[in-house]
Amino acid sequence: MNEPIDDLVRAVEATLFASEAPMSVEQLSTHLGQADVRSALLQLQTHYAGRGIHLVQRGGRWHFQTAPDLAHLLRREREEPRRLSRAATEVLAIVAYHEPVSRAQIEAIRGVQTARGTLDVLMEAGWVRVAGRREVPGRPVIYATTPEFLSHFGLGSLRELPGIDELRAAGLLDPVDDDMIEAALGPSHAGGQSADEAELDRSATGPGQHDDRVASSNESA
């Protein structure tokens, strides 16, 4: 019934099935005695394309997952994953589309201060990580997405973010330089603190203190 399958293809198939985590080409190759697994991966991807299970690549790592159109069958009996607040989803989108970004840049785009807790939630979910510091005065921490972010949202890479090309073409993803931030923040932050002061305040009073406005509201709005 089936044509015989290449041994390497079988080995890649079995390895990815058994693995508890997505595997990069390098990891697979190491596990399989330095074999070149690329063509086997593509063969498998094609083979599974119409089936109930798909082989996908997310951020350079490969894994099997159920076909999206069968979600209705599988979602049943499973607890709905907790939903992120609108603030958190916005921050996540900003990190993903603009990465790496500092908190000040996130705040410049959103026009409000961002609770420390919001970024913590995204880091706890494993979608956002600290990606170092920007070498500008104050050396602000910068944030970026993780491979888990790509896996979770079914993205092969950040280039697959919805609408990213259009947004870039429209200049809406241009880096927000510090002067711009200052000018932009002018109106909404005129009453208050600089980002640094806010940061200091926040660390003194505990996380998330300032953000009455952020942690509220639902995504649907």
Binding site: A71, T89, P162, G163, S216
Partner: protein, 264 residues
């Protein structure tokens, strides 16, 4: 304008009951700051954000703030600051140009529009992101993967030369430090006794012990041998005294030892 305060919970608590301020219901809940409110007002113009009328937007915002104040809503300071700035922007846009001004009111309006577009774009992107087929919600990994295990095995490396060199080292190190006394010329006790007793036999008076030693020439010139001869002769003298064949006398400490035969 005060919203439920739940700073530590960025996860949506689910069905959030609407605040019970029915009397003040002005569709004001849920703004995340003035920019958020402006964006919502701009969306109500039902045109592309790139084509909104800033003047109209300013009017709407100011009206909104007026209403809120009329209803004695407590507005956060930044809403008021934004209102003041927008009022200034409006007047600047309407009044005759002041060429000196930089940035120009048009430039400021453009920046405001850009910020609204930027925020609008991210908000939309967030929605599209959340709507994707998400792992654990829409698509699922294998439920019971066997797991891959890599056991590390040490591949010990050692060469033949390492082994024999190590053995050589052990041998050299553990070899006892043996101090061999090189064979050398000595006067034995026996020969000293016979020499001393025979010389005593012919002596008449006290004799210095050193006079019993062989003459210091040839082999006996060797200082080591002379010391051996002296030591042996001394022991021989003691032995002869013990057996009652000789007397020993020494007048001062470290003075010459003198011997004399005891005639039976």
């Amino acid at each position: 304008m005060e919203l439920p305060l739940d700073p530590d919970n960025s996860w949506d608590a689910g069905a959030q009951p609407a605040a019970g301020q029915d009397a003040l219901h002005l569709d004001i809940d849920g703004w995340e700051g003035p920019l958020d409110l402006l964006l919502d007002l701009a969306r109500r113009q039902k045109v592309d954000l790139r084509r909104i009328s800033i003047l109209e937007l300013v009017d709407q915002y100011l009206t909104y703030i007026d209403q809120a104040e009329a209803l004695r809503l407590e507005l956060a300071a930044d809403y008021l600051v934004m209102a003041a700035w927008l009022a200034y922007l409006k007047s600047a846009l309407l009044l005759p140009r002041d060429e000196q001004e930089d940035p120009s009111p048009e430039e400021l309006a453009l920046r405001l529009q850009m910020r609204l577009q930027r925020l609008g774009a991210m908000r939309e992107a967030a929605g599209r992101l959340m709507g994707r087929d998400r792992l654990g919600r829409d698509v699922f990994l294998r439920g019971g993967p066997e797991g891959l295990r890599v056991d590390r095995k040490n591949l010990w490396q050692c060469t033949w030369f390492d082994v024999i060199r190590a053995y050589g080292d052990v041998k050299v190190r553990s070899e006892p430090v043996v101090h061999m006394v090189r064979e050398r010329m000595v006067m034995t006790l026996d020969s000293a006794i016979s020499r001393v007793s025979s010389m005593l036999g012919v002596a008449i008076d006290w004799m210095d012990l050193r006079d019993f030693l062989p003459p210091a020439h040839d082999a006996w010139a060797n200082p080591q041998l002379r010391r051996s001869a002296l030591a042996s002769s001394f022991v021989a003298a003691l032995e002869l005294a013990r057996t009652g064949k000789a007397e020993i006398a020494q007048e001062d400490t470290f003075g010459p030892l003198r011997l004399k035969a005891i005639r039976p």
